[in-house]
Amino acid sequence: MATSRKVTLLSSDGESFEVEQSVAVESITIKDSIEEGSAGNPIPVPKVNSKILAKVIEYCKKHVESAKAEDRVDDEDLVAWDADFVKVDQATLFDLIRAANFLNIKSLLDLTCQTVADMIKGKTPEEKRKTFTIRNDFTPEEEEEVRRENQWAFE
């Protein structure tokens, strides 16, 4: 293998993760800061705690490895792996969205957003509120108005 340079990422709660550079640069944010030379070593990753950072690294590692594999059959395996990867509690899922957004990892952002979208899709509004604990902040008049506006969606 060619030079496998490693970088160290520092989570917001002070934990260090050593990863190959090829994995770290899945994050455009990190890639940019390395290229600009502005990244220290270890590279601080504010806003992302160790638990989430570990998951993000796991995701990037898997995807970098799969891209290297010549065998395209792995695509289906990767899809299945992704599906398992997002079977986490809501808090983690939303943290992953924020982390993917901050670190600018498009494929992870797409995957996590699609997961939440799929969770929202099939539900009635009450179910949505319940699943995601969203507060219904409409006044009764507003609620009736908005219900009327969107009547077409309920028929």
């Binding site: 995601f132 969203i134 969107n150």
Partner: protein, 386 residues
Amino acid sequence: MSSLRSDPSSSRVHPAPLLVDHFDRLPDPLLLLIFNRIADVKALGRCGVVSRRFRQLVPQVDAVLVRVDCVISDDESASPAALSDKARNPFASFFQAFLGNIVKPLQALGLFPGAKRAQSGPSSSSSSSSSLAVGSERDGEMDQGGVTHHSPTQVLKNFNEIRFLRIELPSGELGIDGGILLKWRADFGSTLDNCVILGASSVVRSGPVKNLVGSENGTDAGCANDDNGSIPESFYTNGGLKLRVVWTISSLIAASARHYLLQPIIAEHKTLDSLVLTDADGQGVLCMNREQLEELRVKPLSASSASKRTLVPALNMRLWYAPHLELPDGVVLKGATLVAIRPSEQSGLKDMADGSWISTAFEEPYGTAARMLVKRRTYCLEMNSF
């Protein structure tokens, strides 16, 4: 649908600090990213009633899929009385007689409520959320009296920033006999830009045993006869040519009717980058990109006099035929025909040899079929505007 009012938690603050609304931690742009992936327009409508924030964000979604439940077709073509009306335009009556059973051009699109027909009572909840599939009771006779329907135009009024719009009809308009393959793809600006039609009189899914004839030719593999790509004489006498003409005209009528219907949507949504009108059968795809959409806004379409569809301009057509076409995956198309159509006006401007739009018109395996067919002998035809 369970009643909205009975939700007890709606007026109480959640006491437990553990119950957190995770969406609160996402800024609006991220929430929009999620909404953009929901796509289905009814699901988005239901999001709009969840909370103020959702209500405010849903109109900003930029990618939407509208699944139409029901189409209202011009059923007059089936009744003999109507034929005499249309006889004013002899050309139109020719079509009615020729094509009456085959194509029911769309007159309107509606999202019909699932189980509701003539009643106005509440529809059952279990069918309503899946009404998009269930509610496809296509009844051309239905008049708009007792039933409420919502046109895609109305539904889309709730969205202000759509860039990617995909509309899916419940089925293709062309009522063809079983066994026949017929697919079309048409690109429109103000008028037809191009159209590709692929048809076959039958499709045989053969086993893995492949014809050895011609296999050494690589991509030419699959033409069982050692022909030079020419159309056999029998084609002209056994109805083969007539059938292909019917396919071509039907597809063009269906495409131009779809185009006509899209006008109000296109006029209203100036943010559109891409519009695709397809159907659940995968029979026909109408596409418009940003330039084409803009062209239609600037230069209104010409309507055909007899019916609610866009006028089809004078056309140059190229046709390829193979009596027996074997695709790499073992599928055999019998009587395979490919027709590539462009307005006569345009063909002078661009070299007709640029065939990329033909080979990319269809998804696999039909893309391969198209690429195989264009290698054969080309027949050129012209058609008047209609």
